[in-house]
Symmetry: C2
Subunit: 389 residues, 2 copies
């Protein structure tokens, strides 16, 4: 092995995707997008860079620390390199598509960059593919987001999918209702995220039974939901738990075979969700395949509108898929009429043109990774190991 030139080293968390993986990923992205298009979601493509204050407004605020900044020599203002596409889509929906009929269904696919990787996702650049359903508070919208995400990922071939339904604002809302102070609420939220029952007991004090009850309402939807509904939740909180149950029912009706779990106390990774949310997993793969849920989108000046949606993380999707098959290649020796090669491609062959006459065309075909060769007016298999054509 020759040494790799020093300038070929890339910054941590940034990588070259090589053949055949890059093509495999691009095909998976387009297949997901095509599923979303089939459900009436229309594609938008916001730019990679925006004014920092616009990019980090509203739902984007949570990603401030993760966002690369740079100076724009034209405007002399700071720009942010996007760390998430969802807030951009919300901005497009509120501004240029502010007058499009609601509910508005939009989808997107694009690269995002983050200043730091996480333990589960060391990549600092990855492709995000997602869909947003904006301007509706309907339960059917929550269910559509979950079922469409699952159907699209299944269509792409992600095996052993499961969905965890979550209520990220629940713990905070409950703690506020019960008068728990902010610091204790934070620690309680972390203890619940860790499923650390002992700490929950200590932190929750007189409300220990209620919070322990929430912890017991984690697990397969069939057992967890009745436990959640049996809890003595305050009237201000109960409707969200009931809504979660009804959304699960709708998803169950559309996808009876799907593995559905519920975790009403999970909060990690939900940066701006305000209601029923969900996390998509592929069994055996580290990190989630995708994530989504309700949020509040900025509408026109000062107003907001209800929205839901989800994002699929292509790095994790690719880890979940079986390895890409390599295309079968056909060597077409130099001097072959261009219209013949064109006809072979039209028949579905990947043609690899010889650029100079080769004394041993078959060996050259093998050297270039071609399993077939065009010879004597027809396609023949390359006899590997043979010394001559």
């Amino acid at each position: 092995m020759t040494r790799t030139p020093a300038n070929a080293l890339l910054p941590n968390g940034l990588q070259d995707v090589l053949p055949p993986d890059a093509d495999h990923e691009a095909a998976a992205v387009e297949r997901l997008m095509s599923c979303f298009a089939g459900h009436g979601y229309e594609r938008v493509k916001p730019p990679m860079l925006e004014f920092e204050d616009a990019l980090l407004a509203g739902a984007g605020a949570a990603l401030g620390a993760q966002t690369f900044r740079l100076m724009d020599p034209v405007s002399q203002k700071m720009l942010g390199l996007r760390a998430d596409v969802t807030p951009q889509v919300a901005r497009v929906a509120a501004s240029r598509l502010g007058h499009a009929p609601r509910p508005l269904r939009l989808c997107y696919a694009g690269q995002v960059l983050r200043t730091a990787g996480s333990q589960l996702r060391p990549e600092r650049q990855f492709a995000q593919v997602g869909a947003e359903l904006i301007g509706t508070d309907a339960e059917a919208a929550d269910a559509e987001a979950v079922t469409m995400a699952v159907e699209a990922l299944q269509e792409v071939g992600v095996p052993r999918l499961s969905v965890d339904l979550n209520l990220p604002p629940l713990v905070g809302a409950l703690a506020a209702h019960l008068g728990v102070d902010a610091d204790t609420t934070d620690r309680l939220r972390q203890a619940l995220d860790r499923k650390d029952a002992a700490s929950v007991d200590t932190l929750a004090g007189e409300h220990a039974e209620l919070f322990r009850g929430l912890l017991r309402a984690v697990g397969p939807a069939e057992t967890a939901l009745p436990r959640l509904q049996a809890l003595d939740l305050p009237d201000a909180i109960r409707p969200e738990a009931e809504r979660l149950a009804r959304v699960v029912e709708r998803v169950r009706a559309a996808l009876p075979e799907l593995t559905l779990t519920v975790d009403p106390v999970e909060h990690r990774g939900f940066e701006y969700q305000t209601g029923v949310s969900f996390t998509l997993y592929a069994r055996g793969v580290r990190a989630e395949v995708g994530r989504g849920g309700r949020y509040t989108a900025d509408a026109n000046v000062g107003a907001t509108e209800a929205a839901t949606g989800f994002t699929v993380f292509m790095d994790t999707v690719m880890r979940a898929l079986p390895a890409a098959p390599r295309a079968e290649r056909l060597y077409v020796p130099a001097g072959t009429d261009p219209s013949i090669a064109r006809g072979l491609r039209a028949d579905g062959w990947v043609t690899v043109a010889g650029l100079e006459p080769e004394p041993d065309a078959e060996a050259e075909a093998a050297r270039l990774g071609c399993g077939h060769i065009y010879r004597d007016g027809r396609v023949a298999a390359v006899r590997t190991g043979s010394g001559s054509g």
Copy 2:
């Protein structure tokens, strides 16, 4: 019209691509990539960010002034946001694919960003799609780059394509050979780019006849090439002109209908080309559709290898294409069995689900831009203007 929120303003040269254009562009990108794949080009995906010194090494040096820089908090080094993908592909070929058999055929599609737009191309972000053929000096490689670019663009539907064949290093090499000083060479190059015969005469002095001859060798390939070959070019220069003629012959053989022009003195826009090059135009569209040619790729430490390739600029491609047709949408009222909607999508329909029961489903379908509605167990056309379903 409600006012667009102020934070929806984007920096100059950056824009949101909306429906149906974003989908149209993505489909064109994948169709181009699929054509390249048919010729044995394998996709690579380098990252958006790299260490500044690696990104601007070799062929990338010409883009230094166009490249956004930012600080990496992890490595504490400066990173560059790519302004061109070709130098990255050359880096990948030299490093991680240094041991793959040559010629190496690679392709890519991705966003690039530039600190400033140009007069012809005000966009500061656009999609680049391209192919590189690395590790071969063969004339057949030059011809393959041109013909594949044309075939792919025709396949995507770009009308009235033409190709201008160029020799960007010619003027410089000739001037150096004749002992013309560097400053005069620069001015001569600019005068030739402008086709300013009077200035060429003045600047070229005793060599005026030769340089005027080059200027006359601009035009349709059939008339321009014989004029180029008839010039009294020095022996050190003549082989490149002869090569250009042979490449034109090969392209002509593969694509007899193509409009081919020759401009051996054109230099604008060629940042690192070292030999036979070309520019792709669509008649009636400002700015070139693509550009390519020979360059020298860095190989392993200290070594180089011959390469050619091209880049297609999607902003121009999209300006050349007819407007995208909008997909036909089918409204599926709330409560319809999910498996029915699934079947309709499998039949090719774009389904738009009603999320709540609507008293006038037909009006709702029309409001959401659906030309059809699923009603009484079948698909029916929406009677626009009718008040009830």
